[in-house]
């Protein structure tokens, strides 16, 4: 069964690159441009993994994670945050919101799939 990944980022470049890498890994991809769109998409779809940026307009990634974790449906869905800095503070912030792990930008497609493997059954 094809696994579905929700990617949420306000950068179209990043969304396209994620989609490209994920499709190569055999994933189906749905995309949102901010946390609110992400939540709406989660209401309407079931996904296996969520990848989200932190800095976004309308609803940022931290709020997005906190909100999605409130719904039982999403409690066990792995959430990976995209971060440019490998700085501990950003990871901490993401983790305390409920993120499962992180992907450091810039990523290479192989590494991205490896990280997803680490959190997805």
């Amino acid at each position: 069964m094809t696994k579905r990944v929700l990617t949420v980022d306000d950068s179209k470049t990043m969304l396209q690159m994620l989609q490209f890498a994920l499709k190569q890994g055999g994933f189906e991809v749905i995309q949102g441009e901010n946390g609110q769109e992400g939540l709406d998409l989660l209401d309407a779809n079931t996904v296996d993994v969520i990848i989200t940026d932190i800095n976004m307009p309308v609803m940022d990634g931290i709020t997005f994670i906190k909100e999605l974790r409130k719904k039982p449906k999403n409690k066990a869905t792995p959430v990976l945050i995209l971060t440019t800095e490998s700085s501990q503070s950003k990871k901490e912030e993401g983790r305390s919101a409920g993120a499962t792990g992180w992907i450091v930008k810039p990523f290479d497609p192989g590494k991205l799939l490896e990280v997803i493997r680490k959190v997805s059954p």
Binding site: T13, F20, G32, L41, N45, R69, G98, G101, P109
Partner: protein, 753 residues
């Protein structure tokens, strides 16, 4: 990584958008309208640019964006107050960033010190509150720390145990040195006790176990002692702990990497059970607390556990939330509205697509060919009577209609609102006002008027220059304005408007207007006009467009940057446009720019001169006439003037300019077309006859030929013949400098013969 290079174009388009938005946000900040959301938006823009730049390896861009981002982060956190000075710095740095983006896009290299000043100012600004924004400084500090650690380690241990000593190493950092080192096959004891938080973040021990198993030999023991009675189980509670024996040649780091995301949510100890002899001593020393702890854990672990047991936590921890998931998805069924939102989002994305400009240009070109082909067919069938071939005539008429529609649609693809150029102006005016200590307000209108993208791209510089000119020379100081009875605040109005087939952009100021006396004096001084010349007011005003003209007494650093109004006029002309100035002394001046809607098609008049036909751009033509003999005056130097409504217009014989044989020399039998030049001067072109008006597709000559004076471009006519499109300014130049008098014809013709 190369795979992702295909998204570079997307990245640059996105940068363009981000930088455009940035400009608006920064202006809001500067005028004090910005709030924290604005700062957030600014931060995000820089952050996105940095993120993308990192993906494509634009290191210089990343380095600068990083420092910039750090400072903006401090600002949005409220740690740095956005003062007028710091906002100005941010504006300046946004420009630098934009330069770096452009350099990356064009593959050019900026001078090495291009961003140094901005970079230093940013670092200094951050330093005022004790933050070090310089990544290199941080690197240096890390390097120093590493050296220290390495030095200390060197005394009593191999570098290998160092990561073991530190319980929470940065995973990335030690991984690199560990990889190349050849690691022997070693056996590790891994003790892993998850905490509740691990499950709350949707991590899953089973996945970790799966990953561990791939490292090599593997044995797992689960300790389910702490699992409570069923009715007391918390779905997300952590009740089971594990011990693994891992035999691997990938080193301890590989094991740590498996636990990368859960290090803070569990207790983890990794002990090498058979350390190699060389490392044995320090490793044993480091591991000392571990073996002590091991037996304690081992005792309960060994008893109840068998291999299949690891399956147990699955229903307990992972599957437990799943039944809820079913209920949960029914719950948000009320979120059907949200479900409707999703496809909505998709259609939004589909509403615009990014297309390579080359493709659009190819389409424009092909439509151009279609226009020519249609003209050709129309000409071939001209002699057929419409009533004999009604279907053909109707078909052709319809085809013509469709082609025009098609042409307009294709042109519209290249059209963009002038907004993108206008958006830079408020800031420019603000800065100029500040530099000149004047009060200037900028009004804009018609920002949504659309013009060809190429025109928009080329419009920035001339527009900037004219605004500079208005701010610097036009608008007076508040004192002077008060003395002249004007409000202290000067107004510059920039408008765009479509009139006929052209776009008109006007830049009007309410300043002092052009000082004609001064302009005239300067022009005579610079030998641009004869001392005894009598010029109309309009002609004097337009002298400022002459090359080498500048009235500023001292070269200010605003207008006097070595670019004169002549360059502005050249730029506009190269776009097929015109610029002139209207001035009312004491009341202000207006620059008026007219630009073609598109660069691909031109409305032209087909002229016949001898055996040749030429295209004259319709925009240049004022009128045409067949003069009476008494309207022609011959002046001393043999040049001919046409007297018309009290004005004298020099005549230029086109057949002499282009050395076309058998052109009509008798002005009373020929036709005179009065054309107006950019400087508002007039010229009468003598031609044999006018064949008709026609829309022609411009074919550039520059790709294949050196520039030819007097000829702007070429086109293909309906009969399949190539025809040259005339450039009146070039013709005037030839007439004035190379002569076109009857007497000189043989001399000119000689080399050609």
């Amino acid at each position: 990584m190369d795979d992702l290079a295909q998204f570079k174009q997307t990245f640059f388009s996105e940068c363009e958008e981000l930088l455009g938005d940035l400009e608006g946000h920064l202006m809001a900040l500067q005028s004090g309208e910005g709030d924290n959301n604005t700062l957030n938006a600014v931060f995000r823009a820089i952050h996105s640019i940095k993120g993308g730049a990192g993906a494509f390896g634009f290191d210089r861009l990343v380095a600068f964006a990083h420092i910039f981002e750090t400072v903006l982060d401090l600002m949005r956190d409220g740690r740095l107050e956005p003062t007028p000075d710091s906002v100005l710095l941010v504006l300046h740095c946004a420009d630098i960033l934009s330069d770096l983006v452009k350099a990356a896009q064009n593959g050019t290299e900026l001078p090495a010190d291009h961003e140094n000043e901005g970079r230093k100012s940013l670092i200094d600004l951050a330093a005022t509150i004790g933050v070090d924004a310089d990544p290199h400084a941080a690197d240096a500090a890390l390097a120093a720390l590493d050296a220290q650690l390495a030095g200390g380690g060197g005394l009593d241990a191999e570098p290998e145990p160092a990561p073991a000593a530190a319980p929470e190493p940065e995973p990335e950092a030690p991984a690199a040195p560990a990889a190349p080192a050849k690691v022997p096959l070693l056996k590790y004891l891994v003790k892993f006790t998850p905490r509740d938080a691990l499950y709350q973040r949707a991590n899953e021990p089973l996945i970790l176990i799966r990953e561990l198993r791939e490292l090599g030999g593997f044995l797992a023991k689960a300790d389910a002692e702490a699992v409570p009675a069923l009715d007391q189980i918390q779905p997300e509670g952590a009740y089971i702990k594990w011990e693994f024996e891992v035999e691997t040649d990938r080193g301890e780091q590989a094991i740590k990497d498996v636990f990368e995301f859960v290090l803070d949510d569990c207790e983890l100890s990794i002990t090498c059970l058979n350390p190699p002899a060389a490392a044995a001593k320090p490793a044993a020393a480091e591991a000392k607390p571990a073996p002590e702890a091991a037996p304690k854990a081992e005792a309960p672990a060994a008893t109840p556990v068998a291999q299949p047991k690891p399956e147990a936590p699955k229903p307990a921890a992972a599957a437990a939330p799943k039944p809820e998931a079913g209920a949960g998805s029914a719950g948000p069924g009320g979120g059907a509205g949200g479900g409707g939102g999703a496809p909505g989002g998709e259609t939004k994305a589909a509403r615009s697509i990014r297309v390579d400009l080359d493709r659009v240009d190819k389409l424009v070109n092909m439509v151009g060919e279609l226009v020519i082909t249609h003209a050709m067919i129309a000409q071939q069938t001209e002699h057929l009577h419409a009533d004999q071939h009604p279907e053909l005539a109707n078909g052709l008429a319809e085809l013509s209609h469709h082609i025009r529609d098609l042409q307009e649609s294709v042109m519209a693809m290249r059209a963009q609102p002038v907004k993108s150029v206008f958006a830079r102006l408020p800031r420019l005016v603000r800065e100029l006002a500040m530099m000149t200590n004047k009060k200037i307000r900028l009004d804009m209108s018609g920002e949504n008027t659309e013009i060809d993208k190429t025109v928009i791209e080329q419009l920035g510089d001339p527009l900037t220059h004219m605004i500079r000119n208005s701010c610097d020379h036009g608008i007076e100081s508040p004192e002077d304005r008060a003395a002249a009875g004007k409000p202290a605040e000067g107004v510059i109005h920039v408008s765009a408007d479509q009139r006929g087939g052209r776009i008109v952009i006007e830049i009007t100021d309410d300043g002092r207007g052009i000082n004609r006396e001064k302009v005239m004096k300067k022009a005579i001084e610079k030998k641009l006009v004869a001392p005894d010349a009598v010029l109309s007011n309009e002609e004097i005003d337009n002298l400022i467009f002459l090359p080498g003209f500048s009235t500023a007494d001292t070269v200010s650093n605003i207008s006097g940057r070595g670019v004169g109004m002549d360059v502005v006029r050249q730029n506009i002309q190269s776009l097929g446009g015109r610029v002139h100035i209207q001035s009312r002394p004491g009341q202000g001046s207006s620059f008026i720019l007219t630009l073609p809607l598109t660069l691909a098609v031109l409305d032209g008049m087909v002229l016949k001169v001898g055996v040749q036909s030429y295209i004259l751009p319709l925009a240049n033509i004022v009128e045409s006439l067949r003069p009476e003999p008494d309207q022609i005056n011959i002046v001393a130097n043999q040049s001919q003037l046409l007297r018309i409504r009290g004005e004298y217009v020099p005549l230029v014989y086109l057949h002499r300019i282009f050395k076309v044989p058998n052109g009509i020399d008798d002005t009373t039998k020929a036709l005179i077309i009065i054309v107006e030049l950019e400087d508002s001067s007039k010229m009468g072109l003598v031609v044999d006859e006018i064949i008709g008006q026609q829309q022609v597709v411009i074919k550039s000559l520059e790709e294949n030929f050196d520039p030819i004076r007097g000829v702007g471009a070429a086109t293909i006519l309906g009969n399949g013949r190539v025809s040259l499109i005339l450039d009146v300014a070039g013709i005037k130049h030839i007439a004035e400098h190379e002569g076109q008098q009857r007497g000189s014809v043989p001399r000119l013709a000689a080399p050609a013969a």
